[in-house]
């Protein structure tokens, strides 16, 4: 076990280095310059552009730039081209904005998909099952941004409730409770939008998994020996059906860093996804690379945790 841990961690570390080198190369080799040295600004002279390029080390060989980036990242000196702010701190602030969105969306996905999926599997072919299937496919096929616009228009024009941004204007002096509820309300719609696709997909998985398990011999045996139906379904069948979902738990982690570009953009949510997107548009290399690096770390950690969880849950699997 220890042996596996050490070897596996080492492999992931090597992979991380390779990923970061490749990301660095791709970002730098792609056409386009940071907007700070964009020569289309007629006010700027060639000397000034050259001075800014030199300050950002844009003309150094690419491997030196990589080493410099890594060194600055480690020492905390890494600054955004765009506004001179420390990159790690900037990403940190956005992380705390994106986190509640991610948590609520995840909560919605996991709490809503399981009952829907299980119910649909147990009453296979019923009206509920068929309408759940239709809804799921509809949600998978309709682009998220389209639904989001419809929901926002409904909320703003019909209900009259503010849904854009993280909070309502002019509530700065209101009670803490109201402010908290206000934040929660502003979370609801973007989190729901973020969750819809997930619910549709995951409930289909649950249904399929459940159907497979319910058909197994040991379930029939349990029912035949006169066990309570709920006990059979939720005690015996569900436990086995759950196994594959344990892996998904670890794989969800990268979503934490990636955020959601589309929904953060539409809902004016100052999260990581938007930070990364805007950094790409402005060719803000330090920010792009650092977000990418953190995403790589989290992805590798997520798969690592998945492996561990799976081994812990399924006695047939042993890590060696």
């Amino acid at each position: 076990m220890i042996n596996w841990l050490v070897r596996n961690s080492f492999q992931r570390l090597v992979l991380l280095v390779i990923v970061s080198i490749m990301a660095h190369a791709v970002v730098h080799l792609a056409p386009g310059e940071p907007s700070e040295v964009d020569p289309t600004n007629p006010r700027m002279k060639a000397e000034d552009v050259a001075r800014i390029r030199a300050a950002f080390h844009l003309d150094d060989p690419i491997h030196l730039q990589y080493v410099r980036w890594l060194r600055d990242l480690a020492s905390g000196d890494l600054k955004s081209f765009k506004d001179g702010q420390p990159v790690v701190e900037k990403i940190g602030q956005r992380f705390w904005n994106s986190l509640p969105l991610f948590l609520v969306a995840t909560l919605l996905i996991w709490t809503l998909s399981f009952p829907t999926g299980i119910h649909a599997a147990l009453r296979r072919g019923s009206v509920f099952d068929r309408s759940a299937t239709l809804t799921a496919y509809a949600l998978i096929s309709i682009p998220g941004f389209c639904l989001a616009y419809l929901f926002i228009m409904f909320m703003v024009n019909v209900v009259g409730a503010p849904v854009i941004g993280m909070r309502t204007f002019g509530t700065e002096q209101a009670s803490t409770m109201l402010q908290f509820m206000d934040r929660l309300w502003h979370l609801t719609l973007p989190a729901l939008m973020l969750a819809l696709g997930g619910i549709a997909v995951l409930s289909r998985y649950v249904r399929a998994q459940m159907l497979e398990v319910v058909g197994q011999d040991y379930v029939r045996t349990a029912i035949a020996k006169g066990l309570d139906r709920d006990r059979v379904i939720y005690g015996h069948a569900l436990r086995n059906a759950l196994l594959p979902f344990i892996t998904m738990f670890g794989l969800m982690l990268p979503g934490l860093v990636g955020g959601s570009v589309i929904f953060e953009q539409i809902f004016a949510w100052p999260g990581i996804g938007r930070l990364g997107y805007e950094a790409i548009l402005a060719r803000d290399f330090p920010v792009i690379l650092t977000i990418n690096f953190i995403a790589a770390v989290v992805t590798l950690a997520g798969t690592f945790i998945s492996d561990l969880l799976y081994a812990w849950a399924d006695p047939r699997i042993r890590l060696q």
Partner: protein
């Protein structure tokens, strides 16, 4: 277990839905919130970067810094320079003339003085004083290629002999010519400043001459601006503004570590002298009239930033850039990254407390959400897209303001290549396109035709000069004159070569794509074959525009208020990645551009720019298309408080600048009575 599967989702959904009942509706926000009435909320696609006027060059940041900071000068309602933090300013000139070889300096001064005293020319009254300077020294940067083929720069000291110093009341760019006419044979003919210093051996004789002459010409113009500052102007923290803050702001821009994008505007300055607590003198190295405009830039507080600049290697990462302190009418309150910037009225402003209590700048990256928030009352203004303008204009809740955007769109032709080197061809291609139609159908009427290099609405354009008319028949004739005849397939050809070329533009701009299709069709109608292609912006610049490797392209310029177009049209600016990328070269244009840069008198400047406008339009290096309009829809409840306390509807400045009077804005409650004075 089964219950858990039912309760958990129910609980989550319930918790989220109940939050709705705590949230104030849009109506509540408007009615029950007094603070909302005094607040102007604006939406923006992007967030600000640096709230420091010397570090930013983007629209979002300048929107904020324009309210928080003030310059010595400002642009008034007609885009003329007017005093702001400066009580008054005066532009004069000191000029230096090298002496002819072998003359006795003292006698030469007398000769010149006598000639001036005798002269009856009207320019002579401009001369205040003529005297002889002491010998001086001047440092010149010698650049050369060293043995490793790298460009190296070394300082060279020139020991200048005594020169004649002319003190002038007003700047006179023609002084050299006037003196030459006046002095005749006494006017110096030889001037070789490079002989006054020791140069590195690597620098060739001709390079020495050129570099020394650039720094010390025979007649050296030193324009001087003297600013008298207003008394008792305070920064938002109570500190009093004085002349050393002006000097500090200049130093901060020139400090290399600050990487200020505005450095080029201040580079022609020779010195900024503090002559008294409220008295600053700025001396320039050469004639450069656009420099005046650069003094509209905000003045920084030395007492807050001095340490960062001197001891901490520049102010780029100073906390000040996210919590600025200026002298402007609005004071900084809060900045929540990518979300909101809040400003409030500064009660201690030298013009008195602004009417506008609060200004909020919300970052809403999506246009549709901006529109919805505006319609719901959570934004006070919105810029409708061209196709929406009509709908917003018809809505009684809003008022509309329309102005020209400072810039225009064009089709540019690469004049290094045949057949675009022939002005008749460029003119014919322009005449084949119905620009009115583009404005009407692509821009939904939200644009105006442009006749030349200065967009409409500025004082620099010639309003009587008609744009190129749409006349495909005349276009065909012009092309026939240029030697193009239809080939068997109906396409125009000359010497067996078809008039066929590539028209390109950048991706992501639907208007340009539409123009491309329309132009292609219009040209096909007169027998010209254009192939079209769209490229990603970075590739478009790198592979086509910068190296000048294209036939024709569609682009646009965004222009400032100053009329200096040297970089866009001068024949010296046609190199790699320079802005005259079409390779346009015209001697008369060059002369006008040089004169415009050196002209400090606004009326003379306007006649020069109008001539330039006509000259470039005659040559048609571009097909000038249109200047887009921008329309603001604004909540009708906004009023403006007049000097006498009367309320009138919000009005834009005569220049079209909507926010010019913003500090006087106030929002009235629904149904609030208007003042009797306006009767609206």
């Amino acid at each position: 277990m089964r219950r858990l599967f039912l309760f958990a989702p129910a609980l989550v959904v319930l918790a989220l839905v109940q939050a709705y009942f705590w949230v104030p509706t849009y109506d509540d926000q408007l009615r029950r919130n007094n603070a909302r009435a005094g607040t102007y909320i604006e939406g923006s696609i992007g967030d600000a970067k640096f709230l420091n006027p010397i570090l930013n060059s983007d629209t979002a940041s300048s929107r904020i810094t324009d309210l928080v900071f003030e310059g010595l000068l400002k642009l008034d309602e007609e885009w003329k320079l007017a005093p702001a933090l400066a009580r008054s300013y005066q532009v004069s000139e000191v000029a230096y003339l090298g002496l002819p070889e072998g003359v006795e300096p003292d006698t030469y001064v007398d000769t010149v003085r006598a000639a001036i005293a005798k002269s009856e020319a009207d320019w002579v009254e401009n001369v205040v004083q003529v005297r002889l300077t002491d010998p001086g020294r001047r440092e010149v940067q010698a650049t050369f290629e060293n043995t490793e083929n790298k460009t190296e720069t070394r300082a060279v000291d020139l020991q200048l002999p005594p020169r004649l110093e002319f003190t002038l009341r007003r700047v006179d760019q023609d002084l050299a010519a006037r003196l030459e006419a006046l002095l005749g044979q006494h006017f110096p003919t030889r001037w070789e400043p490079h002989s006054f210093g020791q140069w590195p051996d690597e620098v060739s004789e001709s390079a020495r001459r050129e570099q020394a002459l650039a720094a010390v010409p025979l007649l050296e113009h030193n324009p001087v601006i003297e600013f008298r500052l207003r008394d008792g102007v305070r920064f938002h923290d109570g500190h009093v503004l004085d002349a050393s803050d002006v000097r500090f702001t200049y130093d901060a821009i020139m400090e290399p570590n600050n990487l200020s994008p505005r450095r080029a505007d201040f580079e022609p300055i020779a010195s900024v002298q503090v002559l008294g607590p409220l008295h600053v003198r700025v001396t320039y190295k050469r004639l450069y009239a656009p420099a005046l405009y650069s003094w509209t830039m905000g003045i920084l507080p030395e007492h807050l930033l001095g340490v960062a600049t001197r001891d901490e290697g520049g102010m780029r990462d100073a906390p000040f850039n996210r919590a600025p302190v200026g002298t402007g009418p609005m004071r900084f309150v809060e900045w929540r990254g990518d979300e909101l910037i809040t400003l409030e009225g500064f009660p201690g402003h030298w013009q008195g407390r602004p009417e506008l209590e609060r200004f909020m700048f919300r970052v809403l990256p999506d246009l549709l959400t901006q529109e919805l928030e505006f319609a719901a009352g959570a934004l006070d203004s919105y810029v409708p897209q061209p196709h929406q303008v009509e709908r917003f204009a018809a809505d009684e809740r809003f008022m509309n303001f329309t102005a020209n955007r400072p810039g225009y769109s064009y089709i540019a032709y690469n004049q290094r290549k045949a057949p675009f080197d022939d002005p008749r061809v460029r003119r014919a291609l322009g005449m084949a396109i119905d620009v009115e139609e583009i404005v009407r159908y692509v821009l939904h009427g939200e644009g105006d035709r442009v006749s030349g290099p200065f967009p409409p609405g500025t004082p620099w354009t010639d309003p009587d000069f008609a744009p190129l008319r749409y006349d495909p028949e005349a276009a065909r004739q012009l092309l026939a004159e240029a030697g193009f005849q239809p080939d068997p397939d109906g396409w125009l050809a000359r010497d067996g070569k078809r008039l066929e070329f590539n028209l390109i533009t950048n991706n992501g701009n639907p208007v340009r794509k539409a123009i491309m299709t329309i132009a292609q069709q219009a040209w096909a109608d007169i027998g010209v074959k254009a192939n079209t292609q769209v490229f990603e912006w970075a590739v478009f610049l790198k592979d086509f525009v910068n190296p000048g490797a294209f036939d024709a392209l569609i682009l646009g310029w965004r222009l400032g208020v100053d009329p200096d177009m040297y970089q866009l049209w001068h024949s010296s600016q046609t190199g790699f990645a320079k802005l005259n990328f079409t390779g346009y070269e015209d001697a008369h244009t060059d002369r006008l551009l040089e004169r415009i840069r050196r002209e400090y008198d606004r009326d003379r400047l306007a006649s020069l720019t109008r001539e330039l406008h006509r000259q470039i339009a005659r040559n048609q290096p571009y097909t000038f298309l249109f200047a887009r309009r921008v329309t603001y829809a604004m909540d009708r409840k906004w009023r403006m408080v007049e000097a006498d306390g009367g309320l009138v509807p919000v009005r834009a400045a005569r220049s079209g600048e909507l926010f010019y009077h913003m500090r006087h804005w106030r929002k009235v409650g629904s149904g609030a009575a208007f003042s009797a004075r306006t009767g609206q």
